[in-house]
């Protein structure tokens, strides 16, 4: 029995389609519906249609403030550290070593963020760097459970994701432009500012968008390195769903987070379009 191309395609797409419907679309729809509901007296969700939960969002102001200050800070810090490395990998390194060095940058991103953050508890904790600093006379310096520790943790965690898109943009750059500029007597710093930097902007924007979005949804790093003192939106959600069991309010916080993310993506997409890049080279893997 022969089947048409169309039927074959439908058949091939069925498992993935069902998976997306049941575990992506349904859960997101449930969160959206719950966000208009109420908290049932015994915890969990009671049906309803009210905007009360959204009106209540300012009660979690601290979490939104922490997230919306530390996420941009972390993104900028990661960008400043990543750019020179990406530049080095794309334009300066011996091609022989390129693949290995690239793999070494991206690989940590795929390993356990839990264990990598744990390593910083170890380093920032009382017997780590503070003990070392004490030997130089800098005593009583507290690092763990501070916003600084959270910032360090997020930069450490997401740096690889920033390096890659910038690397891809710089790698694509037509090196003849730089040669031409040099032949015409342009000093290197000027050709960097006028050629390299503008042409690498798509990578910079893509990397910043990826890192910023992931940082906004962060929960693990603030909870491990912030010691419950530096609360992100993600921590507020965990608290609402698992401790206070206020599913309706928790859902409203989740919807608010997703909306902030969508706005970010929309702004970035517009910027990326302006710089004339294709969105295909978003480098996750």
């Amino acid at each position: 029995m022969a089947i048409t191309r169309r039927q074959a395609r439908a058949l091939l797409l069925t498992p993935a389609g069902l998976w997306y419907a049941a575990l992506l679309l349904l859960p997101l729809a449930v969160v959206l519906i719950f966000s208009f509901g109420e908290r049932s007296p015994i915890g969990g969700y009671a049906p309803g249609f009210t905007l009360e939960q959204y009106a209540n969002l300012p009660s979690r102001f601290a979490a939104f403030r922490n997230t919306l200050t530390l996420a941009p800070l972390g993104t900028v810090a990661a960008l400043l550290i990543a750019y020179p490395l990406a530049y080095f990998l794309a334009l300066r390194v011996d091609p022989k070593w390129k693949t290995l060095l690239l793999v070494l940058v991206i690989v940590p991103f795929w390993t356990s963020i839990l264990i990598r953050s744990y390593a910083w508890i170890f380093l920032l904790g009382g017997k780590g760097i503070p003990a070392l600093l004490a030997q130089f006379g800098l005593e009583d310096i507290r690092l763990l459970n501070t916003p600084f520790a959270v910032l360090l943790g997020i930069v450490y965690g997401y740096l690889p994701l920033m390096v890659f898109p910038i690397y891809v943009a710089l790698e694509k750059l037509d090196k003849r432009l730089l040669e031409a500029a040099a032949d015409l007597g342009t000093p290197p710093w000027r050709s960097f500012l006028q050629i390299t930097l503008p042409l690498s902007m798509p990578g910079v924007l893509t990397g910043s968008m990826l890192v910023f979005i992931l940082l906004m949804g962060e929960f693990l790093i603030p909870s491990i390195l912030g010691g419950g003192k530096v609360f992100f939106i993600g921590n507020a959600m965990v608290d609402l769903f698992l401790q206070s069991r206020n599913w309706a309010f928790g859902s409203a916080v989740a919807v608010a987070l997703v909306v902030i993310m969508l706005i970010t993506v929309a702004i970035y997409s517009r910027l990326i379009k302006r710089f004339g890049a294709s969105r295909d080279d978003v480098g996750l893997m």
């Binding site: 091939l12 797409l13 998976w19 575990l23 992506l24 859960p27 356990s112």
Partner: protein, 268 residues
């Protein structure tokens, strides 16, 4: 420039190296380095809680990676060269699944599954004696959702870079579409499929956030590590962390090398 790069690599790898170093300490305290011993490895590998969590993690990672690779590869085969609305819908689904924060997907999956189970169980239980609950099944389903999207990105990317002339030539020479798939297409996309499987496996094995919500009463290794960290830094956790890191790094480097060998141009 070179020094700077060296410093960044040190920043990326030193913390992991220090954990590894201290895991071989013979001392009782996690923060002191005394002698060399594999005592803590021995202890970790004989801890029944660790072993049970490890077994759960491996089982979930293997099953979710396998199912995600199959469903993702099938979808990629259909999506390659496809245009129109269905393609646009799938592209959006893949992007949403990859971009949405783990915490949102974890919590959303938790409340959706709990709500569905509450609806279904009163009917199902009297009929079959079965009761749906969170556990291995929900872990596999939730991890697979994310990793299937990764597989689609990888395999579709590879498919789209294939030379269509080879497939046409195979057809012109009289091969059936099925024979062409197995003899021409599959060998070329196999490295991407394998890399997808390995990435999917490590993602699931290392994931804490989604598992934290949908594991029910099951404990995966990252959940075990997280609850131990809350009780403080111990040499045993250093040893477990080193082993997990070692395993992930090995698998990932293999996956990356496969991916890069299969492609003319390095693609992240």
């Amino acid at each position: 420039m070179r020094l700077y790069a060296l410093a960044v690599y040190a920043f990326l790898y030193l913390p992991i190296a220090i954990i590894a170093l201290f895991s071989f300490s013979a001392g009782r305290s996690a923060a002191s380095l005394q002698g060399f011993s594999v005592h803590w490895y021995h202890k970790a590998l004989h801890n029944p809680f660790v072993l049970e969590a490890l077994w759960t993690s491996v089982r979930v990672a293997f099953l979710s990676a396998l199912l995600a690779t199959i469903a993702g590869t099938l979808a990629s085969l259909a999506l390659t060269g496809m245009r129109g609305r269905v393609r646009a819908i799938f592209d959006t689904l893949v992007q949403v699944a990859v971009m949405i924060p783990g915490i949102v997907i974890g919590i959303a999956t938790l409340i959706a599954l709990v709500s569905v189970f509450d609806l279904v169980n009163p009917w199902l239980e009297p009929l079959t004696g079965l009761k749906l609950s969170l556990g291995t099944g929900s872990l596999v389903a939730a991890h697979g959702l994310f990793t299937m999207s990764l597989v689609i990105l990888l395999v579709r990317g590879r498919m789209e870079s294939l030379d269509p002339a080879l497939i046409e030539a195979s057809g012109d020479l009289g091969a059936t579409p099925v024979a062409t798939f197995f003899q021409v297409t599959l060998p070329q996309i196999l490295p991407a499929i394998m890399a997808g499987f390995l990435l999917a496996f490590t993602f699931s094995f290392d994931d804490f956030i989604i598992a934290f919500f949908v594991a029910g009463s099951d404990t995966t290794l990252p959940i075990y590590i997280f609850s131990s960290i809350r009780r403080g830094v111990t040499p045993e956790i250093n040893a477990i962390g080193t082993m997990v890191m070692g395993a992930s790094l090995t698998i990932l480097i293999v996956a990356q090398v496969m991916l890069r060998r299969s492609q003319a141009q390095p693609r992240p």
